[in-house]
Symmetry: C2
Protein backbone atom coordinates (compact mmCIF):
# COMPACT_ATOMS: atom_id res chain seq x y z
CA UNK A 1 0.00 0.00 0.00
CA UNK A 2 1.18 3.56 -0.69
CA UNK A 3 0.53 5.98 2.17
CA UNK A 4 0.59 9.73 1.59
CA UNK A 5 1.30 11.81 4.65
CA UNK A 6 0.53 15.53 4.59
CA UNK A 7 2.60 17.09 7.38
CA UNK A 8 5.63 15.09 8.53
CA UNK A 9 5.71 16.39 12.10
CA UNK A 10 5.51 14.54 15.40
CA UNK A 11 2.31 12.63 14.54
CA UNK A 12 2.64 12.24 10.77
CA UNK A 13 6.35 11.44 11.02
CA UNK A 14 5.88 8.87 13.78
CA UNK A 15 3.11 7.19 11.80
CA UNK A 16 5.39 7.08 8.77
CA UNK A 17 8.13 5.33 10.76
CA UNK A 18 5.95 2.56 12.20
CA UNK A 19 3.69 1.99 9.18
CA UNK A 20 6.75 1.45 7.02
CA UNK A 21 8.78 -0.64 9.45
CA UNK A 22 5.81 -2.81 10.41
CA UNK A 23 5.02 -3.52 6.77
CA UNK A 24 1.67 -1.76 6.40
CA UNK A 25 3.11 0.79 3.96
CA UNK A 26 5.31 -0.19 1.03
CA UNK A 27 5.92 3.41 0.17
CA UNK A 28 5.50 6.71 2.02
CA UNK A 29 4.89 9.88 0.02
CA UNK A 30 5.27 13.05 2.05
CA UNK A 31 3.74 16.49 1.50
CA UNK A 32 5.50 19.19 3.45
CA UNK A 33 5.04 22.92 2.92
CA UNK A 34 8.00 23.94 5.08
CA UNK A 35 11.25 23.45 3.03
CA UNK A 36 13.34 22.90 6.18
CA UNK A 37 10.93 20.25 7.42
CA UNK A 38 10.82 18.64 3.97
CA UNK A 39 14.58 18.22 3.74
CA UNK A 40 14.81 17.02 7.36
CA UNK A 41 12.04 14.48 6.77
CA UNK A 42 13.90 13.09 3.75
CA UNK A 43 17.21 12.98 5.60
CA UNK A 44 15.69 11.26 8.64
CA UNK A 45 13.98 8.85 6.22
CA UNK A 46 10.39 9.59 7.19
CA UNK A 47 9.29 9.61 3.54
CA UNK A 48 10.54 7.99 0.34
CA UNK A 49 9.69 11.10 -1.66
CA UNK A 50 8.39 14.59 -1.00
CA UNK A 51 5.76 15.43 -3.63
CA UNK A 52 3.14 18.11 -4.28
CA UNK A 53 -0.31 17.53 -2.73
CA UNK A 54 -2.08 16.59 -5.97
CA UNK A 55 0.56 14.05 -6.93
CA UNK A 56 0.40 12.61 -3.42
CA UNK A 57 -3.38 12.19 -3.66
CA UNK A 58 -3.19 10.56 -7.08
CA UNK A 59 -0.45 8.10 -6.15
CA UNK A 60 -1.53 7.11 -2.60
CA UNK A 61 -4.12 4.62 -1.37
CA UNK A 62 -4.54 6.35 1.95
CA UNK A 63 -3.86 10.03 2.60
CA UNK A 64 -3.13 10.97 6.21
CA UNK A 65 -3.63 14.69 6.92
CA UNK A 66 -1.56 15.52 9.95
CA UNK A 67 -1.24 19.29 10.12
CA UNK A 68 -2.62 21.81 12.65
CA UNK A 69 -6.38 21.62 12.79
CA UNK A 70 -7.18 24.90 10.98
CA UNK A 71 -5.21 23.89 7.90
CA UNK A 72 -6.40 20.29 8.13
CA UNK A 73 -10.05 21.24 7.54
CA UNK A 74 -9.05 22.95 4.29
CA UNK A 75 -6.76 20.15 3.10
CA UNK A 76 -9.21 17.29 3.83
CA UNK A 77 -11.78 19.12 1.68
CA UNK A 78 -9.22 19.59 -1.12
CA UNK A 79 -8.42 15.87 -0.99
CA UNK A 80 -12.11 14.93 -1.17
CA UNK A 81 -12.58 17.33 -4.11
CA UNK A 82 -9.73 15.62 -5.90
CA UNK A 83 -11.22 12.17 -5.20
CA UNK A 84 -14.42 13.41 -6.80
CA UNK A 85 -12.69 15.03 -9.81
CA UNK A 86 -10.60 11.94 -10.56
CA UNK A 87 -13.35 9.45 -9.65
CA UNK A 88 -10.98 7.81 -7.19
CA UNK A 89 -13.58 5.77 -5.33
CA UNK A 90 -11.22 3.45 -3.44
CA UNK A 91 -8.92 6.02 -1.90
CA UNK A 92 -9.31 7.06 1.72
CA UNK A 93 -8.36 10.26 3.54
CA UNK A 94 -8.01 10.55 7.30
CA UNK A 95 -7.15 13.38 9.66
CA UNK A 96 -5.44 13.11 13.05
CA UNK A 97 -6.64 16.39 14.58
CA UNK A 98 -7.24 17.16 18.24
CA UNK A 99 -10.65 18.77 17.63
CA UNK A 100 -13.36 17.04 15.67
CA UNK A 101 -16.55 19.09 15.44
CA UNK A 102 -15.46 21.55 12.80
CA UNK A 103 -13.76 19.04 10.53
CA UNK A 104 -16.74 16.66 10.59
CA UNK A 105 -19.18 19.54 10.01
CA UNK A 106 -17.18 20.97 7.11
CA UNK A 107 -17.11 17.66 5.30
CA UNK A 108 -20.65 16.52 6.15
CA UNK A 109 -22.25 17.29 2.77
CA UNK A 110 -19.28 16.41 0.58
CA UNK A 111 -20.26 13.80 -2.04
CA UNK A 112 -17.15 11.80 -1.12
CA UNK A 113 -17.69 12.07 2.69
CA UNK A 114 -17.74 8.27 2.97
CA UNK A 115 -14.10 8.14 1.93
CA UNK A 116 -13.08 10.27 4.93
CA UNK A 117 -12.35 8.72 8.34
CA UNK A 118 -11.87 11.22 11.16
CA UNK A 119 -9.46 9.97 13.83
CA UNK A 120 -7.52 11.27 16.77
CA UNK A 121 -4.59 9.13 17.88
CA UNK A 122 -4.16 10.20 21.53
CA UNK A 123 -0.40 10.20 21.70
CA UNK A 124 2.27 12.83 21.56
CA UNK A 125 4.97 14.73 23.36
CA UNK A 126 5.48 18.44 23.93
CA UNK A 127 7.81 18.59 20.92
CA UNK A 128 6.99 19.09 17.25
CA UNK A 129 8.51 18.92 13.77
CA UNK A 130 10.05 15.96 11.88
CA UNK A 131 12.86 15.73 14.47
CA UNK A 132 10.24 14.96 17.13
CA UNK A 133 8.99 11.87 15.25
CA UNK A 134 9.80 8.57 16.96
CA UNK A 135 9.07 4.86 16.69
CA UNK A 136 6.48 3.22 18.99
CA UNK A 137 4.81 6.54 19.86
CA UNK A 138 1.30 5.08 19.54
CA UNK A 139 1.75 1.68 21.19
CA UNK A 140 -0.98 0.99 23.73
CA UNK A 141 -2.63 4.43 23.48
CA UNK A 142 -6.26 5.18 22.55
CA UNK A 143 -7.30 6.22 19.05
CA UNK A 144 -10.63 7.96 18.74
CA UNK A 145 -12.84 7.49 15.68
CA UNK A 146 -15.26 10.41 15.51
CA UNK A 147 -18.63 10.06 13.74
CA UNK A 148 -17.42 6.82 12.20
CA UNK A 149 -20.96 6.02 10.94
CA UNK A 150 -20.39 8.74 8.31
CA UNK A 151 -17.57 6.73 6.72
CA UNK A 152 -17.99 3.73 4.40
CA UNK A 153 -17.65 0.49 6.42
CA UNK A 154 -14.95 -0.70 4.03
CA UNK A 155 -12.89 2.49 4.48
CA UNK A 156 -13.39 2.36 8.22
CA UNK A 157 -12.19 -1.23 8.36
CA UNK A 158 -8.97 -0.40 6.50
CA UNK A 159 -8.21 2.50 8.87
CA UNK A 160 -8.98 0.32 11.90
CA UNK A 161 -6.47 -2.18 10.55
CA UNK A 162 -3.94 0.59 10.09
CA UNK A 163 -4.28 1.75 13.70
CA UNK A 164 -4.14 -1.87 14.80
CA UNK A 165 -0.68 -2.05 13.24
CA UNK A 166 0.19 0.99 15.38
CA UNK A 167 -1.02 -0.97 18.45
CA UNK A 168 -3.73 1.54 19.28
CA UNK A 169 -6.99 0.86 21.17
CA UNK A 170 -9.93 2.10 19.05
CA UNK A 171 -12.66 4.15 20.78
CA UNK A 172 -15.78 5.27 18.94
CA UNK A 173 -17.69 8.42 19.79
CA UNK A 174 -19.39 11.44 18.29
CA UNK A 175 -17.31 14.46 17.31
CA UNK A 176 -19.03 16.56 19.94
CA UNK A 177 -18.40 14.01 22.71
CA UNK A 178 -14.77 13.89 21.62
CA UNK A 179 -14.41 17.65 21.87
CA UNK A 180 -15.93 17.76 25.37
CA UNK A 181 -13.74 14.93 26.62
CA UNK A 182 -10.48 16.25 25.19
CA UNK A 183 -11.23 19.70 26.64
CA UNK A 184 -11.15 17.99 30.06
CA UNK A 185 -8.28 15.56 29.73
CA UNK A 186 -6.01 17.35 27.30
CA UNK A 187 -6.79 20.96 26.40
CA UNK A 188 -7.16 22.25 29.98
CA UNK A 189 -3.84 20.62 31.01
CA UNK A 190 -2.11 22.63 28.32
CA UNK A 191 -3.73 25.90 29.37
CA UNK A 192 -2.85 25.33 33.04
CA UNK A 193 0.76 24.58 32.09
CA UNK A 194 1.02 27.68 29.91
CA UNK A 195 -0.38 29.79 32.78
CA UNK A 196 2.03 28.23 35.27
CA UNK A 197 5.01 28.93 33.01
CA UNK A 198 3.88 32.54 32.54
CA UNK A 199 3.46 33.01 36.30
CA UNK A 200 6.92 31.75 37.18
CA UNK A 201 8.68 33.38 34.21
CA UNK A 202 7.18 36.71 35.28
CA UNK A 203 8.66 36.30 38.74
CA UNK A 204 12.01 35.30 37.29
CA UNK A 205 12.49 38.86 36.05
CA UNK A 206 13.14 39.90 39.68
CA UNK A 207 14.45 36.65 41.10
CA UNK A 208 17.14 35.32 38.80
CA UNK A 209 17.76 32.11 40.71
CA UNK A 210 14.21 30.99 41.15
CA UNK A 211 14.66 27.99 38.87
CA UNK A 212 17.57 26.64 40.90
CA UNK A 213 14.88 25.33 43.20
CA UNK A 214 12.66 23.75 40.60
CA UNK A 215 12.20 20.09 41.40
CA UNK A 216 10.72 17.19 39.48
CA UNK A 217 7.20 18.15 40.51
CA UNK A 218 7.45 21.56 38.90
CA UNK A 219 8.99 20.18 35.71
CA UNK A 220 6.24 17.65 35.22
CA UNK A 221 3.48 20.19 35.84
CA UNK A 222 4.99 22.74 33.45
CA UNK A 223 6.19 20.33 30.75
CA UNK A 224 3.28 20.92 28.37
CA UNK A 225 4.06 24.65 28.33
CA UNK A 226 6.70 23.83 25.71
CA UNK A 227 3.94 22.90 23.24
CA UNK A 228 3.81 24.86 20.01
CA UNK A 229 1.54 27.80 19.30
CA UNK A 230 1.00 26.58 15.71
CA UNK A 231 -0.71 23.50 17.06
CA UNK A 232 -2.51 25.00 20.04
CA UNK A 233 -3.95 28.29 18.76
CA UNK A 234 -6.34 26.49 16.37
CA UNK A 235 -7.24 23.82 18.94
CA UNK A 236 -8.17 26.38 21.57
CA UNK A 237 -10.19 28.51 19.18
CA UNK A 238 -11.94 25.60 17.43
CA UNK A 239 -12.87 24.02 20.73
CA UNK A 240 -13.58 27.42 22.29
CA UNK A 241 -16.90 26.71 24.00
CA UNK A 242 -15.82 23.48 25.66
CA UNK A 243 -12.46 24.89 26.68
CA UNK A 244 -14.06 28.01 28.22
CA UNK A 245 -16.50 25.85 30.14
CA UNK A 246 -13.71 23.73 31.63
CA UNK A 247 -11.59 26.82 32.35
CA UNK A 248 -14.49 28.33 34.28
CA UNK A 249 -14.86 25.23 36.44
CA UNK A 250 -11.11 25.18 36.94
CA UNK A 251 -10.91 28.85 37.93
CA UNK A 252 -13.75 28.22 40.41
CA UNK A 253 -11.75 25.39 42.00
CA UNK A 254 -8.73 27.67 42.27
CA UNK A 255 -10.93 30.31 43.92
CA UNK A 256 -12.23 27.71 46.41
CA UNK A 257 -8.66 26.83 47.30
CA UNK A 258 -7.76 30.49 47.54
CA UNK A 259 -10.63 31.18 49.94
CA UNK A 260 -9.76 28.22 52.17
CA UNK A 261 -6.06 29.19 52.34
CA UNK A 262 -6.86 32.88 52.91
CA UNK A 263 -9.12 31.97 55.84
CA UNK A 264 -6.65 29.45 57.31
CA UNK A 265 -9.48 26.96 56.92
CA UNK A 266 -7.46 23.80 57.47
CA UNK A 267 -10.45 21.48 57.28
CA UNK A 268 -11.54 23.11 54.03
CA UNK A 269 -8.08 22.72 52.46
CA UNK A 270 -7.90 19.12 53.69
CA UNK A 271 -11.30 18.39 52.15
CA UNK A 272 -10.24 19.78 48.75
CA UNK A 273 -6.94 17.89 48.76
CA UNK A 274 -8.55 14.60 49.78
CA UNK A 275 -11.16 15.03 47.06
CA UNK A 276 -8.38 15.65 44.56
CA UNK A 277 -6.51 12.57 45.83
CA UNK A 278 -9.24 10.39 44.29
CA UNK A 279 -7.29 10.85 41.05
CA UNK A 280 -4.98 8.13 42.46
CA UNK A 281 -7.50 5.48 41.56
CA UNK A 282 -7.50 6.61 37.98
CA UNK A 283 -4.00 7.74 37.05
CA UNK A 284 -1.15 5.45 37.99
CA UNK B 1 27.77 8.44 64.01
CA UNK B 2 24.29 7.68 65.31
CA UNK B 3 21.51 9.44 63.40
CA UNK B 4 18.06 9.80 64.92
CA UNK B 5 15.25 10.27 62.44
CA UNK B 6 11.90 11.57 63.62
CA UNK B 7 9.37 10.57 60.97
CA UNK B 8 10.37 7.67 58.71
CA UNK B 9 8.34 8.72 55.68
CA UNK B 10 9.45 9.50 52.13
CA UNK B 11 12.15 12.02 53.13
CA UNK B 12 13.25 10.64 56.52
CA UNK B 13 13.17 7.05 55.27
CA UNK B 14 15.11 7.84 52.08
CA UNK B 15 17.74 9.71 54.10
CA UNK B 16 18.00 6.70 56.43
CA UNK B 17 18.66 4.35 53.51
CA UNK B 18 21.45 6.37 51.89
CA UNK B 19 23.12 7.65 55.08
CA UNK B 20 23.45 4.07 56.32
CA UNK B 21 24.45 2.45 53.06
CA UNK B 22 26.96 5.19 52.20
CA UNK B 23 28.61 4.86 55.63
CA UNK B 24 27.74 8.25 57.15
CA UNK B 25 25.53 6.63 59.81
CA UNK B 26 26.60 3.61 61.81
CA UNK B 27 23.22 3.36 63.45
CA UNK B 28 19.78 4.76 62.68
CA UNK B 29 17.31 5.32 65.51
CA UNK B 30 13.78 6.00 64.35
CA UNK B 31 10.96 7.83 66.10
CA UNK B 32 7.58 7.09 64.58
CA UNK B 33 4.23 7.97 66.16
CA UNK B 34 2.18 5.88 63.74
CA UNK B 35 2.38 2.18 64.82
CA UNK B 36 1.78 0.91 61.29
CA UNK B 37 4.57 3.13 59.92
CA UNK B 38 6.86 2.08 62.79
CA UNK B 39 6.50 -1.62 62.08
CA UNK B 40 6.80 -1.08 58.32
CA UNK B 41 9.96 1.00 58.80
CA UNK B 42 11.53 -1.78 60.87
CA UNK B 43 10.52 -4.47 58.40
CA UNK B 44 11.84 -2.50 55.43
CA UNK B 45 15.00 -1.87 57.43
CA UNK B 46 14.88 1.92 57.49
CA UNK B 47 15.89 2.02 61.17
CA UNK B 48 17.84 -0.26 63.49
CA UNK B 49 15.48 0.51 66.36
CA UNK B 50 12.30 2.47 66.95
CA UNK B 51 12.65 4.39 70.21
CA UNK B 52 10.80 7.14 72.10
CA UNK B 53 11.74 10.74 71.23
CA UNK B 54 13.76 11.44 74.41
CA UNK B 55 15.79 8.27 74.07
CA UNK B 56 16.44 9.13 70.43
CA UNK B 57 17.70 12.59 71.36
CA UNK B 58 19.95 11.25 74.11
CA UNK B 59 21.50 8.51 71.99
CA UNK B 60 21.90 10.33 68.65
CA UNK B 61 24.58 12.72 67.38
CA UNK B 62 22.29 14.26 64.78
CA UNK B 63 18.50 14.35 65.01
CA UNK B 64 16.68 14.76 61.69
CA UNK B 65 13.10 16.00 62.12
CA UNK B 66 11.20 14.95 59.04
CA UNK B 67 7.51 15.29 59.81
CA UNK B 68 4.86 17.64 58.40
CA UNK B 69 5.82 21.24 59.03
CA UNK B 70 3.27 22.05 61.76
CA UNK B 71 4.47 19.19 63.97
CA UNK B 72 8.11 19.83 63.05
CA UNK B 73 8.11 23.30 64.65
CA UNK B 74 6.96 21.76 67.92
CA UNK B 75 9.40 18.82 67.81
CA UNK B 76 12.49 20.89 66.91
CA UNK B 77 11.75 23.08 69.96
CA UNK B 78 11.36 19.97 72.15
CA UNK B 79 14.71 18.66 70.90
CA UNK B 80 16.43 21.99 71.62
CA UNK B 81 14.85 22.04 75.12
CA UNK B 82 16.28 18.56 75.74
CA UNK B 83 19.73 19.65 74.47
CA UNK B 84 19.59 22.47 77.03
CA UNK B 85 18.32 20.30 79.89
CA UNK B 86 20.98 17.62 79.35
CA UNK B 87 23.74 20.08 78.43
CA UNK B 88 24.28 18.22 75.17
CA UNK B 89 26.37 20.87 73.44
CA UNK B 90 27.66 18.76 70.54
CA UNK B 91 24.39 17.37 69.28
CA UNK B 92 22.69 18.85 66.24
CA UNK B 93 19.07 18.93 65.16
CA UNK B 94 17.90 19.63 61.60
CA UNK B 95 14.51 19.87 59.96
CA UNK B 96 13.66 19.08 56.33
CA UNK B 97 10.47 21.13 56.02
CA UNK B 98 9.07 22.79 52.91
CA UNK B 99 8.42 26.13 54.64
CA UNK B 100 11.08 27.93 56.61
CA UNK B 101 9.86 31.23 58.05
CA UNK B 102 7.84 29.87 60.95
CA UNK B 103 10.36 27.28 62.06
CA UNK B 104 13.26 29.75 62.04
CA UNK B 105 11.15 32.37 63.85
CA UNK B 106 9.96 29.92 66.52
CA UNK B 107 13.52 28.85 67.35
CA UNK B 108 15.17 32.28 67.01
CA UNK B 109 15.50 33.05 70.73
CA UNK B 110 16.19 29.50 71.90
CA UNK B 111 19.45 29.35 73.90
CA UNK B 112 20.50 26.33 71.81
CA UNK B 113 19.53 27.87 68.44
CA UNK B 114 23.10 27.41 67.18
CA UNK B 115 22.65 23.64 67.35
CA UNK B 116 19.77 23.79 64.87
CA UNK B 117 20.35 23.75 61.10
CA UNK B 118 17.26 24.42 59.00
CA UNK B 119 17.36 22.62 55.65
CA UNK B 120 15.06 21.75 52.79
CA UNK B 121 16.24 18.94 50.56
CA UNK B 122 14.34 19.65 47.31
CA UNK B 123 13.49 16.11 46.34
CA UNK B 124 10.44 13.93 46.58
CA UNK B 125 7.67 12.15 44.81
CA UNK B 126 3.90 12.37 45.13
CA UNK B 127 3.91 9.38 47.51
CA UNK B 128 4.39 9.29 51.27
CA UNK B 129 4.98 6.90 54.16
CA UNK B 130 7.89 4.48 54.80
CA UNK B 131 6.94 2.43 51.71
CA UNK B 132 7.66 5.51 49.59
CA UNK B 133 11.27 5.72 50.80
CA UNK B 134 13.87 4.88 48.16
CA UNK B 135 17.63 4.94 47.61
CA UNK B 136 19.24 7.75 45.58
CA UNK B 137 16.25 10.08 45.98
CA UNK B 138 18.45 13.12 46.65
CA UNK B 139 21.26 12.60 44.13
CA UNK B 140 21.95 15.74 42.14
CA UNK B 141 19.08 17.79 43.62
CA UNK B 142 19.36 21.12 45.49
CA UNK B 143 19.34 21.35 49.28
CA UNK B 144 18.47 24.73 50.75
CA UNK B 145 20.06 25.93 53.98
CA UNK B 146 17.82 28.66 55.44
CA UNK B 147 19.26 31.36 57.73
CA UNK B 148 22.43 29.30 58.06
CA UNK B 149 24.21 32.20 59.81
CA UNK B 150 22.07 31.39 62.87
CA UNK B 151 23.72 27.97 63.22
CA UNK B 152 27.15 27.31 64.70
CA UNK B 153 29.76 27.01 61.89
CA UNK B 154 30.81 23.61 63.22
CA UNK B 155 27.24 22.27 63.23
CA UNK B 156 26.65 23.71 59.76
CA UNK B 157 29.80 22.04 58.43
CA UNK B 158 28.71 18.61 59.69
CA UNK B 159 25.27 18.96 58.08
CA UNK B 160 26.87 20.17 54.82
CA UNK B 161 29.00 17.03 54.89
CA UNK B 162 25.91 14.93 55.51
CA UNK B 163 24.09 16.38 52.47
CA UNK B 164 27.28 15.98 50.47
CA UNK B 165 27.02 12.24 51.15
CA UNK B 166 23.50 12.45 49.75
CA UNK B 167 24.97 14.10 46.62
CA UNK B 168 22.99 17.29 47.05
CA UNK B 169 23.92 20.79 45.81
CA UNK B 170 23.82 23.22 48.75
CA UNK B 171 22.08 26.59 48.27
CA UNK B 172 22.09 29.25 50.98
CA UNK B 173 19.31 31.78 51.40
CA UNK B 174 17.13 33.48 53.97
CA UNK B 175 14.03 31.71 55.25
CA UNK B 176 11.82 34.38 53.69
CA UNK B 177 13.53 34.10 50.28
CA UNK B 178 13.09 30.35 50.49
CA UNK B 179 9.38 30.65 51.16
CA UNK B 180 8.86 33.04 48.24
CA UNK B 181 10.80 30.83 45.83
CA UNK B 182 9.15 27.56 46.83
CA UNK B 183 5.72 29.19 46.53
CA UNK B 184 6.61 29.74 42.84
CA UNK B 185 8.36 26.53 41.90
CA UNK B 186 6.68 24.01 44.17
CA UNK B 187 3.61 25.09 46.11
CA UNK B 188 1.70 26.58 43.17
CA UNK B 189 2.30 23.43 41.08
CA UNK B 190 0.60 21.39 43.75
CA UNK B 191 -2.39 23.71 43.97
CA UNK B 192 -2.83 23.74 40.17
CA UNK B 193 -2.68 19.93 40.10
CA UNK B 194 -5.23 19.62 42.90
CA UNK B 195 -7.56 22.03 41.06
CA UNK B 196 -7.12 20.13 37.79
CA UNK B 197 -7.95 16.81 39.45
CA UNK B 198 -11.04 18.33 41.07
CA UNK B 199 -12.20 19.79 37.75
CA UNK B 200 -11.94 16.53 35.85
CA UNK B 201 -13.23 14.33 38.69
CA UNK B 202 -16.31 16.56 38.88
CA UNK B 203 -16.99 16.00 35.19
CA UNK B 204 -16.44 12.26 35.56
CA UNK B 205 -19.67 12.04 37.55
CA UNK B 206 -21.58 12.54 34.27
CA UNK B 207 -19.07 11.17 31.81
CA UNK B 208 -17.89 7.79 33.04
CA UNK B 209 -15.38 7.18 30.29
CA UNK B 210 -13.62 10.49 30.34
CA UNK B 211 -10.37 8.98 31.61
CA UNK B 212 -10.16 6.54 28.70
CA UNK B 213 -8.82 9.51 26.81
CA UNK B 214 -6.28 10.69 29.34
CA UNK B 215 -2.86 10.77 27.72
CA UNK B 216 0.64 11.22 29.09
CA UNK B 217 0.26 15.00 29.14
CA UNK B 218 -2.70 14.87 31.46
CA UNK B 219 -1.04 12.36 33.78
CA UNK B 220 2.07 14.44 34.19
CA UNK B 221 0.11 17.65 34.85
CA UNK B 222 -2.15 15.99 37.42
CA UNK B 223 0.45 13.76 39.10
CA UNK B 224 1.04 16.01 42.10
CA UNK B 225 -2.67 15.84 42.96
CA UNK B 226 -1.89 12.50 44.62
CA UNK B 227 0.12 14.34 47.30
CA UNK B 228 -1.04 13.92 50.88
CA UNK B 229 -3.19 16.37 52.83
CA UNK B 230 -1.12 15.75 55.98
CA UNK B 231 1.88 17.26 54.27
CA UNK B 232 0.20 19.98 52.26
CA UNK B 233 -2.35 21.53 54.62
CA UNK B 234 0.39 22.90 56.91
CA UNK B 235 2.59 24.01 53.99
CA UNK B 236 -0.22 25.99 52.38
CA UNK B 237 -1.30 27.63 55.65
CA UNK B 238 2.24 28.37 56.88
CA UNK B 239 3.22 29.87 53.55
CA UNK B 240 -0.20 31.47 53.14
CA UNK B 241 0.81 34.99 52.05
CA UNK B 242 3.31 33.90 49.42
CA UNK B 243 1.02 31.17 48.11
CA UNK B 244 -1.93 33.57 47.82
CA UNK B 245 0.23 36.07 45.98
CA UNK B 246 1.34 33.47 43.42
CA UNK B 247 -2.22 32.12 43.09
CA UNK B 248 -3.44 35.63 42.29
CA UNK B 249 -0.87 36.05 39.53
CA UNK B 250 -1.73 32.60 38.23
CA UNK B 251 -5.49 33.23 38.22
CA UNK B 252 -4.81 36.50 36.34
CA UNK B 253 -2.88 34.57 33.66
CA UNK B 254 -5.77 32.10 33.36
CA UNK B 255 -8.16 35.05 32.97
CA UNK B 256 -5.95 36.55 30.23
CA UNK B 257 -6.06 33.23 28.38
CA UNK B 258 -9.80 33.00 28.93
CA UNK B 259 -10.35 36.45 27.48
CA UNK B 260 -8.19 35.76 24.41
CA UNK B 261 -9.96 32.44 23.72
CA UNK B 262 -13.43 33.92 24.31
CA UNK B 263 -12.70 36.69 21.80
CA UNK B 264 -11.15 34.33 19.22
CA UNK B 265 -8.08 36.54 19.55
CA UNK B 266 -5.63 34.26 17.77
CA UNK B 267 -2.73 36.70 17.99
CA UNK B 268 -3.35 37.13 21.71
CA UNK B 269 -3.38 33.38 22.34
CA UNK B 270 -0.26 32.95 20.21
CA UNK B 271 1.52 35.67 22.20
CA UNK B 272 0.68 34.00 25.52
CA UNK B 273 1.78 30.56 24.31
CA UNK B 274 5.03 31.86 22.83
CA UNK B 275 5.78 33.69 26.07
CA UNK B 276 5.13 30.48 28.00
CA UNK B 277 7.38 28.56 25.58
CA UNK B 278 10.37 30.43 27.06
CA UNK B 279 10.20 27.79 29.80
CA UNK B 280 12.01 25.54 27.27
CA UNK B 281 15.26 27.29 27.97
CA UNK B 282 14.94 26.52 31.64
CA UNK B 283 13.31 23.12 32.05
CA UNK B 284 14.67 20.32 29.95
Amino acid sequence: MTIGIVGLGLIGGSMAIDLKRRGFAEQILGVEAEPLHASAALKIGLADEIVPLEECIDRSDIIVVSVPVGTAVRIVCQVLDRFQATEAKDKIVIDTCSTKEQITQSTFYHPCRQQFVSTHPMAGTEYSGPWAAMPNLFDGRACIFANSEESAPKALKIIEDMYDVLNMRPLFMSASQHDVHTAYVSHISHVTSFALALTVLDKEKDEKHIFDLASGGFSSTVRLAKSSADMWVPILTQNRDNVLHVMDTYIEKMQEFRRAIAEFDEEGIRGLIEDANRIKKIIR
